[in-house]
Symmetry: C2
Subunit: 325 residues, 2 copies
Amino acid sequence: MATAKPSLEPLAIGIDIGGTGTKFGIVDRVGNVLFSGEISTKKHKHIDTFITELHNSVSPLIEKAGGVGRIKGMGVGAPNGNYYTGTIEYAPNLPWKGIVPLAKLIQDKFQLPVILTNDANAAAIGEMTYGAAQGMKDFIMITLGTGVGSGIVANGSLIYGHDGFAGELGHTIIIPEGRFHEGTGKYGSLESYASATGVTLTTLELLQKSKQASLLRDVPKDQIDSKKVYDAAMQGDKLAKEIFEYTGKILGMALANFVMFSSPEAIILFGGLTKAGDLILKPTREHMEANLIQIFQNKVKILVSHLKESDAAILGASALAWELS
Amino acid sequence: MATAKPSLEPLAIGIDIGGTGTKFGIVDRVGNVLFSGEISTKKHKHIDTFITELHNSVSPLIEKAGGVGRIKGMGVGAPNGNYYTGTIEYAPNLPWKGIVPLAKLIQDKFQLPVILTNDANAAAIGEMTYGAAQGMKDFIMITLGTGVGSGIVANGSLIYGHDGFAGELGHTIIIPEGRFHEGTGKYGSLESYASATGVTLTTLELLQKSKQASLLRDVPKDQIDSKKVYDAAMQGDKLAKEIFEYTGKILGMALANFVMFSSPEAIILFGGLTKAGDLILKPTREHMEANLIQIFQNKVKILVSHLKESDAAILGASALAWELS
């Protein structure tokens, strides 16, 4: 005879929807990913088949975890995800066009409460719940991947803005009339410099502009990426070091502006570019400090997320579910 | 025989401390300034004599207003005022150096609860309580005076940051390696362009750089100010119009960045430069929209404060007192 197990702690489901794949996992209160999996996002031209496959893949994990009764709720991180409306709106990298009522579709299928926000906001809540921002009431999360995402926490709450879209710091203009961004049609945004894509563009520009010898000249142009630049820099390549120096300079200037906005205790960096370590962090710190007015100097920590990269997206999304009342 | 008057509504005292003078007033719940006055800030080399004169000047107004029993509390706006600590810290334009425990000194003298913040934050709370931001939960206040101040409200609360100094948007860098700011030693900040001081500098630069005829060439250089530029523009002076166009361009770029940070419902402008009306507002709006990514376009109102300029500082400070529990 089955008996109730009231001592079992509740669990949360985190779902991270990316352009290529969707990761999901069942997470406990302290951030252990107990069960996890992944399905393709890309192959689902229609949202309905995506929801069906998601349900078919997550349901067995819920059973393994002790059944639906143990699940407090589901958190979903998705590009252009809107916290207020539960919709994803005109997400350029997802196969579903227009406005998609994602939270409602998932909620109806799973019969569980669902909270949605964009992936960088989810990452910020993940850091606050399980990571480097535990105990902080004011911090900014910056994700440095293919693009630059951000989530801003002030007074202990995520800033969503009046429409749910606050925290698009990757699109702030750092160099007026600077580098063109193909995705947005704007010039000089942080993302056009301080992302993996930006590092590649900086490399191609510098290789053309400078006459300096560099290991990077031996790499075919279409294979240049931030990893190759990192490898070259670690072998002492001067041009490669300059590339990180320049990227850090622009990132540092941008961070100074963000600090003068919300005066955070820390800025937490996450994503591929942080693997370059001090090659990028040192100039970032220097140029942040150089652009801060006195009252902000030597106060703000720049921290690198210590969440496992493979888990971080799931953790971030799952953390949303703990906010359900 | 005196009888209790329990029907009398509570009142708040607002004190606005500027480098030259300190204004104060007694304000009702809907923003009527019932009694007001002003003393010199500048002449008080020592904070103690300032507090004494303030007390001597405000006390008679309190009596006129029905006595101390009607006063809910006192709100103080001051440059570099810290909400958390109640201190003013290294305020370059005030006669008192270092860290001054201003809220405590006033509280001890008046025996009333005191809340302190910087002047631009007070202005934001004033707009939320009595002005253009009534009912808004997400907006940004920008004061365009001799300098550029700001107060940011998100989720219905002012953002103070971890140290009480959030919202220094005037010092964000808009033009990297741009115009030098004597007060901060930094280059290219918003304040160095979009303030009364900035407009004067732009005028002097343009007069030197361009060969264009202009009414402003007849004004002695040390008498050029934003009022003279406005007058010239209203007479059709091309160069004067260009000056506002350029100022609005930089302000608009900055506002776009602020919108992509906290996604406010509105940006509320206050101060001398707003008197130029569409001469500055039109380019500001255009360049803000031009620098916003699509999801933010045509959503954010730029409003000009309609609070009477003579009352606004007192109102802003008094509004802090309503937040006392």
